[in-house]
Structures are given as structure tokens and as C-alpha cells.
Amino acid sequence: MNAEHTSLLSLRVSVDYANQQGVLQDVCLELKRGEILGLVGQSGSGKSTIALSILRLLHMKKGVARGLINFSGRNLLDLSEREMRSLRGKEIGLVLQSPLSSLNPVLSIGKQLREAWRIHAEGDSKLCSDVIAQTLSSVALPHDKDFLRRRVSQISVGQAQRVLIAMAVLHHPSLLIADEPTSALDVVTQTEILDLFRKLNQKLGIAILYISHDLLSVGAICDRIAVLVAGKIVEELPVTQELRTTSCAYLQQLSGFIRTP
């Protein structure tokens, strides 16, 4: 069996919030191993809700998910909280959109990385620092003591985003959920981060659910695109190499999809 063709994640969920019904209505998504799926949609269309419901963190926003979330052959909605916890960070990683506030402001970066490692791994501190150093260099960050001792307020936004990504891929998860990871970044950093995602995908074989409203970036790295409008998937298309290079017209068409209803 070729890993490329087995399904990693397939979901079919509806989500209600306490103060808003039908945020997601029977949304179906399928993600293969090693694939990058772009999820695009306007703000408020329910993209982040999908991310949180896969990680089963929806209750943080007072939401309830119903349906089926099949991940590596298990329905996540049936798992206990303890089982779920061992899955988070180990098999599914998450990168949020505002890197500076997504890192703990009072702990040093090194400490947060070590924490992320220790939650799911045994072993001495030597191994731990090795893995961290390795991961940091793979996201093109320095891994000297001085950098690790810094806090989030002492690094740049781009660096913070790389730290977040490093933290998410520390355990080589099979799925990485990136919720608008580039929206807070400048164009140059954006490109760098996108390159990084592609590299991680190719080198480590990590499947990525790439959530964004920025069609250009989605078009740049994704294998397929799903379009979410008002809680429903309205379009699912593959992105071919050809499209990727001369994509303008097509993307325009997609934009139409997003804006019309």
C-alpha cells in the first residue's frame, strides 16, 4: 500500500455554538496522508471551528460538535479526554494565526519547547535538547542557549511563528493544522513560512490542513482546495501544477465563490 493514497482524516461534522446554531452544517472533508489541503473561506465562515473540532477543543469556545471525525481509523468524537490528550501535539499539531499571543508570554521559548517534548516523550534532557535543536534548525531558527532563554516579547513575529511550528512538529505528527498561519506576517516572512510548510510536508511527510482566507498562499502550496461558505463546503478542487503557475484567472473564479452567497 502506498501511504500517499490512504486516508488520514475524514470528517463529517455539524457544529453549534451556545449563541449561534449551525456554524458548521454537515461539513465533509477528506485528507490523505502527506497531502496538503487548503481550506479557504471568508472570516466567520467556520474555518477555525473545523480546526478546533478536530482537536476537540471546541468547548473552549462553547461549541458542540456532532458527527464523525475519523483520524487514522479512530473516531475522535468517541475518544476519552485522556486518549485525546495523548493525541494532541503527538499526532496532530496546531499552529495558530497570531504567533505572539499564541506563545506563553512568561515562559522562555526553551521551556515551552521542552514542555511540548516532555508531554509525549520519555528520556533524558540530552535527548530532549537534541530533538529541540534539530527541530529548530529544521525551521531555520538558531538553537543556541541565548535564543532558548528568550521570551516571546524578545523575538520577532516571524521567529515566533517558526517557534510555534517547531513546537507543533516536534513529535513528527501525521497531521498539522495551520489556522491562518501567515495572516499576521509580512510578505517576505509569509513566503518563507510557506516554503517551510512545503519542506516539512515533503521531508517529514506531514499532512497539512492549511486554513486561510488568502487564496494566493493557498494556491501556492496546496494539493487540493476546499471552499467553505457559511458553514458549508461549496467546492472542492484539485490544484494542478499548471494551475499553480498560471492561476490568476482560476483564483479569481474562486474568489467569486467565496463572495457570492
Binding site: A18, N19, H59, M60, K62, S98, L100, S101, A184
Partner: protein
Amino acid sequence: MKVARAIAVAVLLVVSLCALFAGKLSSPDYAFQYREVPDAAPSSAHLLGTDDLGRDRLSRTLYGTRISLSLAPIAALISISLASLIGGLAGFLGGWPERITMAVTDLFLCLPWLFLLLIARSLLPLNAAPLTSVLITFLTLGLLGWAAAARVICTEAREFRTSDILLQARATGQHGWRLLTMQFVPRLRPVLFAQFLISIPVFILSEANLGILGMGVAEPLPSWGSSLRELESFSSFSGEWWKLVPFTLLVLVVVSFQVLLSREEISL
């Protein structure tokens, strides 16, 4: 949770309707002393019995509800507004305005305000109408109650000032009023809400305590506070449940506020 909220709405609605139609539901004269039956147990004539002077407890409770329940939240709002204005501004501006405001707040928390209230009473004419003095009382309470909350809000605002939520919001072009309403106020809401819930019963009780300075609700006007003062010699309560009705009502109302206002789900 939905059920709880529905119950809360129902409680508040019933209580305010009862207060509104106090005259229809009970004897309209809350001040009349039925001197043949002082301190009586509930009967068909007096559904909640009578107080120590023979006044109908039910009508006193209902009219008292009208006064306390309309004025205490207003006083709470005044103190919240002051606290968020002073604390928020100080924390937001930072630097010396913050330091001075905080020094003033510290000072405010330890000054003997009792004497200010005494001075205020001596300036008020002795024949001031009961309602006027109630209004003044609650107003004073609202004006004096901000300091503690202002401290918490200031700390909050200081964190907000230095956070990059602000930076990011600024970066996306929000500024001024919009920044205030979109970012700052929602962030402060939990603290303000806490302050509101704490203040209501505290103000209702303080009004009763101010009564002993001559600044509370003057006789014969009823208020929850003066009914609650009866609890102070509670050893007489063995089995006299009807004396606990105002207390129970107050607890019910504040808990209902709590259920209604707490929108945030808490969990980890």
C-alpha cells in the same frame, strides 16, 4: 444551562413584576401599623405576618424591592463606570498618570469615609423627603465604591496596553473609539461583571448600615436593607421562616443575575 437561564429570567421577571404591582398584590399602605398584631405570624390578613410595629411584611417587602432593586443596580453601574474610567484610563495611559491614580486609589481605600457621610448628613436638611435621602444614599455609595475595582481594572488595562493584541489591532488600522469598544471593553468585561455582582448585595446592605447615620431609607419607607437588618438579632428566628423572605429574595435575584450575565463557558 438553558434551563437555568430560563429560570433566572423567570425569577427576575416575577420579582420585578411583583415590585411593580406591589400595591395590587398586597395592602397598599406599607407604613400602617396594625397595632393589635405586632410581630405576628403569617395569616390570611397578612400573608407574611407583620413586623415589630405591626406593619404588613408582604407589602413592605414588595415596596422595599421596588426601591432597593431599582437603586442598587444603578449605584453598581455608577461605581463600575467610575472604576473602569479611572482604572482603565490610568492603566491605558501608564507612566505618571497611572502612578498618581494608583496612589489616589490606595489613599481612597483607607480614608475614614464614615466621617464624610456624617458631614453629608449634617448638610442635608432634617426634613428631606425620604425618597431624596435614599437617592442621595445610593448615589454616595456608588461614588465611594469604585476604588477596589479600579485597582483590578488598572492592572488589567496595563497588561492590555503592553500586549500585542493592541499592537495587532493598531496594525490592522483600528484606533480610538473602535479600539476601545472592540478590544478594550470586551477584555474588561469579566472584571466589570464581577464588580457588578459583588456590588449589588453590598450596596443593599450598606444602605441599611447608612441608616444608622441617618442617611439610609428613612422611616416609614421600606427597603431590603432595613428588612435585612432584622437578621442581626437572628437568634429569634427559630422557625420563623417568613422573616427570611427578603434575604432569600436578595440571594435569588443576585444568583439570577449571575446565571444570566455569565455567558462564558469555563473549562479546560
